[in-house]
Amino acid sequence: MHDLLIRLIAGTGALLGGLALLIAFNKALREMREALDRRRRALLEPAIYEYANATGHRAILDYLPKPLSRRDRRLAEAALLDAARVVKGESRDRITAAFEALGSVRVSILHLRSQRWWKRAEAAERLGLMRSRAAAEPLVAAMNDPMGEVRIRAARALGIIRGTTSIRPLVLALTDPSRWSAIRVAEILIGTGTEAVDELLAAYDSLPHLARISALDVLGRIRSLKAAGLIRKALKDPHPDIRARAANALGHVGDPGFAADLTEALRDPEWPVRAMAAKALGRVGGQGAIAALCEALKDRQWWVRANAAEALRLVGPAGRDALIRMLDADDTYARHQAVAQLEEGRIIDEYLADLASADPARREAAIGFVEKIIRLERVDHLTQQAIDHAQEGVRLALLKILQRPA
């Protein structure tokens, strides 16, 4: 037992000493390397940036010490990558040429076939920053990589290099279970604009559930009317998630002609669909939407009411008039929502300014309006305004109304 303990102690002690040494050694080595690199880079950098900003024909290698050491090459690459993020135009092209001349593009292309996935992903990302057309072919090949992370970075890089990218693999990549991947793919697709619409329309029926949702998002954001037919059909999909996203997409496309479809969606049995439809109606606008939105203010679900009220505020003067009419609604929630939106839209403040108006008719109207809101017991905003409204006349008038017995 003693022997065992002594051995254990010796073992732990050795481990401990080893660990401490490891930490110290690792830190010393890293710091030394970093310090040397920093100093060397400060030496090289002016020449590199001078190259990037120059207009002549001298290549990058003429600006760097010869023969070029591996460390100098690495540091030059790092300096150029940093610069690549901040410039565009001619300097940007010169930086790309420098990556080609330094062999960085070639090395990164080799890394696209590395055993380790993060090396492949990093290579794809760097190639995107380098923007060399020589990398286009290998990146297309990398779109078939087994790791989703590599595929997406390759796609992005391709998007940067060619201005556009192979759309079909991207549409398929929408099926990636990670929303983060799907979002990045969607962003690339949205960037390609109308080009993606045809592919998405063709592929939609064969896509799995989550990918359809992403596809609807993308179609909505590209705002192509060509997709309207499909989105409208999706509004009748058996799955409520799809119906909700479709309603949202119609809102993004934003054509007033969709008001009828969305009004119908306001009667959907599932509340998320109704909430989305209300929100979308606020975006598409149009007179047809207002009656439906007023009705939606009485919905059982809080979110539908809230979205409908906000939509009414956003659809313009007609919506605003509807909100004012809603102050007399027989539904408490509807009345309170109306007050909140009238406050948010600063319509209450417009009436308040009229309290000090020279025109007696406008004054009367304002008083009537304020009294109505007081009867609804929503007086926080009014009380605040009675204290610090800019006009003294308004403050006094408001105070008088507020102090009146109910």
């Binding site: 660990l19 490891l22 990093e122 990670s178 929303r179 990045r184 962003e187 998002d217 926080d380």
Partner: protein, 482 residues
């Protein structure tokens, strides 16, 4: 058998069991450390390029409501809100819930941001205490201040959940400092696993000794007083080799109240925060595990090893004792409340490993430790003590403790390296050694005391003593768990 023969028997048997217990405990620690090591290396390798800019720019990133419960935070509240409003994120709102402060917390906010009372309506999804008023401002459209009567932190958070608009919410302590990219870091897991992710926590670091300027950590440093330095080492161990390990094993039980991101719908489904709990953050995570497991829905609660938030820790024994007393009572309350989950295979790793670990080591551990010292004295008195063996065992125990502390420092060195200087490293290692001679034992005593208080159901609510960030003696937080 006569009593004087029975006693030595008991003492010897106890000593034997203590050795088994010690071996098991350290075995768990080593496993957790190794799991964390693998995870940290993977994490560092996998984040060669941060995608934060893309998350920031994408308008498909989920919007977040930041909830700040505040009670008597007048000195720091404006600074905190400013720094939160400057956080790097696309769409977010900040909701400060003034929990019946006795100082001028509310007035400061109202004065600084020109806040006005509004008739904003919200949904009372979770039952809460009465709300006095809601304030908004045209200057900063995404800032809302809710003024409510005092109801405790849990009640304030529930009110914040009710008022918030977005599907994710982030709870933030009013006196902690959030890193600029903190939200982007913790939202990433939600983006990666949108269906399953329910809650995400991050590393909380210690702000004592750091230079804080306008709600940002301008220069990282170590505290000057020894007590906070012990806590720095302790936090490194708890977060880097504790929570990362548990998170990888899919059984993370604690997300600090100081900073955590949650899916609102799931929190509401679980009933929100509990007023009875001393540590509502721990209770919430346990409750989420229980409800989600019962519904049989696949879910994830994870920890991102990125540092996200800086917070002040107690610098006096008195305040530390109060803080730890509360944490430990909270743990005991929650374990008692969820006792059906313990050793219940239905709850997977949580039921069979994580919770038993907390019962066996976190709650009973201090007793066994204190009892061990008593038995030691008894062994010596009975002449049973084998001095050689005892000394060797002691040396081994200390060595192992030091090893675990230093190992946590190693994890920090290979990953985030937030403490840049050599003197930082030396201090951390030195205190990693020193904490085995006194600090840990004191923590055990605190826990024993907490157990006693728990049994007596005493609710000694720690009153907070707060100072501003920039004033010399650091404030004394009580409402937080690491």
């Amino acid at each position: 058998m006569t009593p004087d023969m029975l006693l030595p028997e008991i003492v010897l048997a106890f000593n034997r069991w203590v050795i088994y217990y010690f071996a098991l405990l350290n075995g768990v620690y080593v496993v957790l450390f190794l799991v964390s090591l693998v995870e940290v290396v993977r994490f560092v390798k996998g984040t060669f390029f941060s995608d934060y800019e893309q998350i920031l720019k994408s308008d498909m990133t989920w919007p977040v409501s930041i909830l700040v419960p505040a009670r008597n935070e007048s000195r720091t509240i404006v600074e905190t809100v400013r720094s939160l409003l400057n956080v790097n994120y696309g769409q977010f709102e900040v909701i400060v819930v003034n929990d019946g402060s006795k100082d001028d917390t509310l007035q400061r906010l109202v004065g600084t941001f020109d806040m006005k009372r509004t008739d904003k309506i919200y949904r009372r999804t979770l039952p809460t205490g009465p709300v006095r008023a809601i304030y908004g401002t045209l200057e900063v459209p995404n800032l809302t201040v809710v003024d409510k009567e005092r109801g405790g932190k849990a009640d304030a958070l529930n009110t914040g959940i009710n008022v918030s608009r977005y599907p994710l919410y982030c709870s933030v302590d009013a006196d902690s400092i959030i890193e600029e990219n903190a939200l982007l870091r913790v939202v990433k897991p939600f983006m990666e696993h949108p269906q399953e992710m329910v809650a995400v926590g991050g590393i909380v670091r210690i702000a004592n000794g750091c230079e804080v300027r306008e709600g940002r950590v301008a220069r990282i440093g170590l505290p000057r007083k020894p007590l906070p330095i012990f806590q720095v080492v302790e936090y490194l161990r708890a977060f880097l080799s504790g929570r990362i390990g548990w998170s990888t094993l899919r059984s993370l039980l604690i997300i600090s109240g100081a900073f955590g991101l949650y899916r609102k719908a799931e929190v509401i489904a679980a009933g929100g925060y509990d007023r009875w709990s001393e540590t509502e953050d721990l209770e919430l995570v346990l409750k989420l595990h229980e409800t989600l497991n019962r519904r049989g829905r696949p879910y994830r609660i994870v920890f991102v090893p990125d540092p996200v938030c800086w917070t002040e820790v107690p610098s006096t024994f008195r305040v530390l004792a109060r803080q730890r007393n509360r944490w430990h009572r909270g743990l005991l309350q929650s374990l008692w409340r969820h006792k059906r989950m313990i050793l219940n295979p239905r709850f997977g790793v949580i039921g069979t490993i994580a919770l038993p670990y907390f019962v066996l080591f976190e709650t009973l551990g201090p007793f066994i430790e204190i009892l061990g010292y008593a038995m030691l004295a008894l062994s010596w008195w009975l002449g049973l003590l084998n001095a050689d063996f005892f000394l060797l065992f002691l040396v081994f125990a200390v060595f192992f403790g030091v090893f675990l502390s230093v190992a946590a420092v190693l994890l920090e060195e290979i990953s985030f390296r937030r403490y840049p200087g050599w003197q930082h490293l030396a201090t951390l290692v030195l205190f990693g050694i020193l904490e085995n001679f006194g600090y840990r034992q004191v923590l055990s005593l605190f826990k024993v005391k907490a157990f006693w208080d728990f049994l007596l159901r005493r609710r000694a609510w720690g009153r907070m003593e707060r100072q501003g960030f920039r004033t010399a003696p650091p404030p004394a937080p009580a409402a937080r768990r690491i």
